[in-house]
Symmetry: C2
Subunit: 259 residues, 2 copies
Amino acid sequence: MRIVLCGTGNLATRLGIALFAADAEIVQIFGRTEKNAAELAHILHCAFTISPEELVTDADLYILAVSDDSIEKTVANLAIRDRLVVHTAGSVPMEILAVSAKNFGVFYPLQTFSKNKEVDFRNIPICIEANNASNLEILNGVASTISEQVVRVDSNQRKQLHLAAVFVCNFVNHFYSIGEQLLNEQQLNFDLLKPLIRETADKVMNYSPASVQTGPAIRGDNAVMQMHRNMLEGNPAWQEIYSLISKEIRVGTHRDAVG
Amino acid sequence: MRIVLCGTGNLATRLGIALFAADAEIVQIFGRTEKNAAELAHILHCAFTISPEELVTDADLYILAVSDDSIEKTVANLAIRDRLVVHTAGSVPMEILAVSAKNFGVFYPLQTFSKNKEVDFRNIPICIEANNASNLEILNGVASTISEQVVRVDSNQRKQLHLAAVFVCNFVNHFYSIGEQLLNEQQLNFDLLKPLIRETADKVMNYSPASVQTGPAIRGDNAVMQMHRNMLEGNPAWQEIYSLISKEIRVGTHRDAVG
C-alpha cells in the first residue's frame, strides 16, 4: 500500500506519523510551501513536492489532509485519475471528489489535532466512507492499522458528528478559556480548575451526560444564578451565554421529566 | 480532632469518606432524614441524629455540607456556640456564619460530586477561609490530611471560582449532552465522541485554552458555520447558542490580536 499524503498541517502531520509508525509506505508529501512539505517529509522519511506535475502517479492511496476549501481544487489539479483518493474533512460530502476521481472516499479521524502534541491514534475513531465496497474495504484495512475504532459513517452522519464535535470540543474549550479569564480577574491560578475539568470529562466516560448534570441551573437555584448574572454585568456576551445555557439546562430537565 | 458532619448529600458523603479514610474522628452525622443520616453514619462508623437537641456539643469542628439555602438556618438551630463551624459552599460568604457562631470559616472543595462515584480528594483543591489565623490553621491542618492542594481563598475569590466552575463543569457537561443528542438523532453512539472529549480536557492541562482553540469559528470558516446553523434550524435555542459562542470565539481572537 503506497500512500501519497497531501497537506502539511496538524492533521497531515499527526496522521502521517501514525501511518509511518504502523509501517505504511508513505512515498510522497505534496504541500503548498516547500518548507512545510520538506519538514514533514523529513519526519516521514519520504520524498516531497510542491508542483502538481511531480506528483507520484502510481500510488495506491492519495490522502487529502488539506483545508475544506482546498479539497476540490487539490483533487482537480492532481493527476489522480483512477487511483483511490480520500479527503479527511468532517463537513465535506464525499461526492465532492466524484468530479475529478473515479475511486474515492473519506477518511475522517474524529479528534482535535495539534502539530506538536502527540496523540494515540489507536483510540481515535476513524470514520470511513467510499464510493464502492472494495474501496471501503481498502480504507478499512488502512484505518485498522492505526486505530481500533474504525466505523462506517455516511456523509450525513459525518456532518452531524462534526457539528457535535464543535460543541464538545471547540465550544467546551472556549468555556475553559472563559474559566481561565474569570480566575485571572481575581488573581487565581487556572490550575485550580483542572481537577474539575478532568472529573467532568471523566464522568461522561461512564454516564450519560444528562444523567450527571449538576449546578445551580439544574437545581433551579435562582439566587445563585441571579448573583452570577450580576457578576457578569461587565461582559454582556458572557451574561447572555450564562442565561441562555442555564435556561436550556432547565428546559432539558423539564423535557425529560415530562417525557 | 472530633468532627460533626451536617448533611447527607453528595458532598457530605464524599467528604465524610475522605476524612474517614484519613483517620479523622467523625463523631456524628446530623441529617434531615433518618434514612439518609443512618446510611452515611453506617459508612462512617459513627453516630447520627436528626434532632438538633441531640447534637454532640463538644466537637472540635462542625462541617455544614448542606444546601446553600440551609446554611444560615442550620447554624442557627444547632447549639454550636464557640465551637468552630464551617460551610462548604462556593457562593455563600463566610460572614453568614457570624450571626450564630464565634469561630467560623469555609471549607470548599472545588469539585463536582456524585454520591456513587469515587473521587480522589488528594488532587482536589480545598479552598479555606476563616475568621482568624488560628482557625485558618486548624482548617489547613484538616484539609491537608485529605488534599495536597489547600489554598487560602477569600469570599470574593471563592464566588468567582464557583462562577468559573459553572462554565467549565456544568455548562461543559450540558454541551456533552447536546453532543449526545445530536449523535442519537443520526443513530450514532455517544462513545464516538469520548476520545475527543478526553483529549480536549487533556490539552488544557498543559496549555492555556485560548492558545489551543480550534474549529470553524477560530478559523473564520463561514461556510461551515452557516451549514451548522442550518442543521440546527429545528432547535432555535441551540442555533442561538451556536451563533453566540462562535461570535465570542472570533471576538476573543480579535481582542488578542489587537491587544
